[in-house]
């Protein structure tokens, strides 16, 4: 068995990364649709070693590979020489690991049980202090090995940073190949993709319900924009807004009891609230302009939205039941697609300047505006549920692609797909 390149000692992280990508050993399965490229130099990253889990080759999943990729993609960690045979029962030689440059070490195993399930275990050590930080054991079905690897990554991330990890969460997005559109759900790393909707007509604006069990979206299958709500597990769906004109931009309230939508039924695009079954419709904006792209604040009390009532599109905030909106974006003449961080403190949106569309953040208390992207065709930023990453769509080399970025814009990863355009990403909630 040949050791994959990432286990060779390489002083330069970038060279190591290039070697790993070239060898294709980065991802667990050869048929992965996405490949991750990391650009940008991080500030201080925590060096960590993740050794190959004992017997993971026999499990069919590179569990350690998934953990390494997750931690690296977060931007918070860099992976150091992780060669050698270890498991959760090992007694690490801390001096050896320190000389490899590791501050932390993860080792584990994946043992097949008699009933066909797998017993996955790991342990985490603080190499600097020479301390055992504990571990976990999971008994899981073969089909859940990938999810379990993500859970290990989440646990390590939380133990070492204090923040919740998002590696076990899911994202939804839309793909397009010629006249075939799909609404797809994958793990946060782009793997394990499943199709929620197949169509020959466009699909836009998917939106997760807060419990992660439903997706609302806009489908043009009937010849115009109609809002649907679909149960992810069963595929059962209902058209919840199919009024005269266009129905779009669904957004769930944090308690899941209300949806905000944009309807043109009164002759102009305005924002309405409704129940998740489409009832109790009430209009909450009253302008002669375009009001659209509503999004609830995490406390459910306000709604950010886009309006061009001032002449060009800007982001406004109003009480969730409607009421006097106040303008929130003042930098630039075109600001759209607001997303609010889970702590309610940061607004991410798209700013157009000199024909370039870029993901921008606004610190709502200080008013500081920051451009965090270096591409020019960005769309629809969406926060990860731990507030540490933003996913968005952009264009690169003639393709629609998805990017994730840390909030300071320093670490960006590109999820490259082979031959399909991907757009409209939306990050799912915790709780899988």
């Amino acid at each position: 068995m040949v050791n994959p390149p990432e286990t060779q000692r390489t002083p330069s992280r970038r060279r190591w990364l290039a070697g790993a990508l070239a060898a294709g050993a980065w991802h667990a399965t050869a048929r992965a649709q996405f490949r991750v490229e990391i650009s940008g130099v991080g500030a201080t990253q925590l060096p960590v070693a993740i050794t190959k889990f004992r017997d993971e080759d026999r499990s069919g999943q590179s569990i350690s590979g998934i953990v390494r990729a997750d931690l690296e993609r977060s931007g918070v960690f860099r992976i150091v020489d992780s060669s050698g045979d270890f498991d959760e029962t090992s007694r690490p030689n801390y001096g050896d690991w320190r000389s490899r440059g590791a501050d932390a070490l993860v080792a584990g195993s994946a043992t097949r049980l008699a009933d066909g399930r797998f017993d996955v275990r790991y342990k985490l050590w603080d190499v600097v202090k020479g301390a055992d930080l504990g571990g976990q054991a999971f008994a899981v079905l073969s089909a859940d090995l990938r999810l379990t690897a993500h859970r290990v990554a989440d646990a390590v991330y939380e133990k070492l940073t204090g923040d919740k990890g998002v590696f076990s969460t899911r994202i939804a997005y839309v793909t397009r190949v010629a006249n075939r559109y799909t609404l797809r759900i994958t793990d946060a790393d782009g793997e394990g993709g499943q199709v929620a909707l197949n169509s020959t007509q466009p699909i836009i604006s998917p939106s997760w319900s807060p419990d992660g069990k439903q997706l609302a979206y806009v489908s043009f299958e009937s010849g115009k924009a109609v809002v649907w709500a679909q149960d992810v597990l069963s595929g059962e769906r209902r058209a919840i807004a199919n009024f005269r004109g266009s129905n779009s931009a669904p957004a769930w309230s944090p308690d899941g009891g209300t949806l905000a939508v944009t309807l043109s039924r009164d002759g102009i695009s305005q924002i309405y609230l409704m129940n998740p079954n489409g009832g109790n419709l009430r209009r909450i904006t009253q302008s002669n302009a375009i009001d659209t792209e509503p999004v609830f604040t995490p406390d459910g009390k306000s709604i950010y939205f886009v309006s061009d009532r001032g002449g060009s599109p800007q982001v406004y905030r109003m009480p969730a039941g409607g009421g006097n909106p106040e303008r929130v974006t003042f930098s630039g003449a075109y600001n759209i697609s607001p997303a609010i961080s889970p702590d309610g403190r940061t607004l991410a949106y798209i700013n157009r300047n000199s024909g370039e569309f870029k993901v921008t953040t606004l610190d709502l208390s200080s008013g500081t505006v920051r451009t965090i992207s270096d591409t020019v065709d960005d769309e629809r930023p969406s926060f990860a549920p731990n507030g540490k990453l933003i996913i968005y769509a952009t264009r690169a080399q003639g393709r629609d692609v998805l990017m994730t970025t840390t909030l300071d814009g320093r670490i960006r990863t590109r999820l490259l797909s082979s031959g399909v355009d991907v757009r409209e990403p939306i990050w799912g909630p915790f709780g899988r």
Partner: protein, 181 residues
């Protein structure tokens, strides 16, 4: 066809009698259709008017100016400037033509599909496309169609007519299409 002719005739005659009620500036050469056409069988149809009209009078309707197919010859697409939903003068004859067709056939329905070029966000562009479609729809209604005959919808930037990433392509995508239903 007879019904169409009668309705158009009635509308034309009543427009001439009542005068133009539209607030839209129109080319003087084109006949004006009243915003609220009178129903078939109204004043002037078939000469069933007042004492001043001779019983044998026949009013001539010049159908060459109300050719229902003329609108089709003018095309079915209205183009727009960047970031704009204003109807340009060059498309007024097209819209007038369809308005006449709709005014003359209350059973006829059309859908106006608004579009934008590829630049910008999908939802905002959906709303911009909707605005373009609504502008055409409002114009049709002002010129004689009924609100119930028309639905304005939008595809935003999702259905470009032309692939391309330059102004030549973008100009062809900023449009509203008039389609029969």
């Amino acid at each position: 066809m007879n019904h169409l002719r009668t309705s158009l005739c009635a509308a034309l005659v009543s427009a001439c009698l009542v005068g133009c009620g539209s607030s839209v500036k129109l080319d003087d050469a084109a006949p004006v259709v009243d915003a609220k056409p009178t129903p078939a069988g109204g004043a002037g149809a078939g000469g069933a008017g007042g004492a001043s009209t001779a019983q044998s009078q026949v009013a001539t309707v010049d159908a060459t100016k109300i050719d229902p197919m003329a609108a089709g010859k003018l095309g079915r697409v209205v183009y727009f400037d960047f970031d704009s939903y204003a109807l340009k003068d060059e498309f007024r004859p097209l819209i007038e033509g369809y308005a006449r067709v709709l005014a003359g056939n209350k059973g006829k329905k059309m859908v106006i599909e608004g579009h934008t070029d590829e630049r910008g966000g999908r939802e905002y562009n959906l709303a911009l496309g909707q605005r373009r479609a609504e502008a055409v729809a409002k114009s049709l209604v002002l010129l004689g169609a009924s609100d119930s005959q028309i639905e304005a919808v939008s595809f935003g930037k999702e259905r470009p007519a032309v692939d391309g990433h330059d102004e030549a392509a973008w100009a062809k995508n900023r449009r509203a299409e008039l389609k029969d239903r």
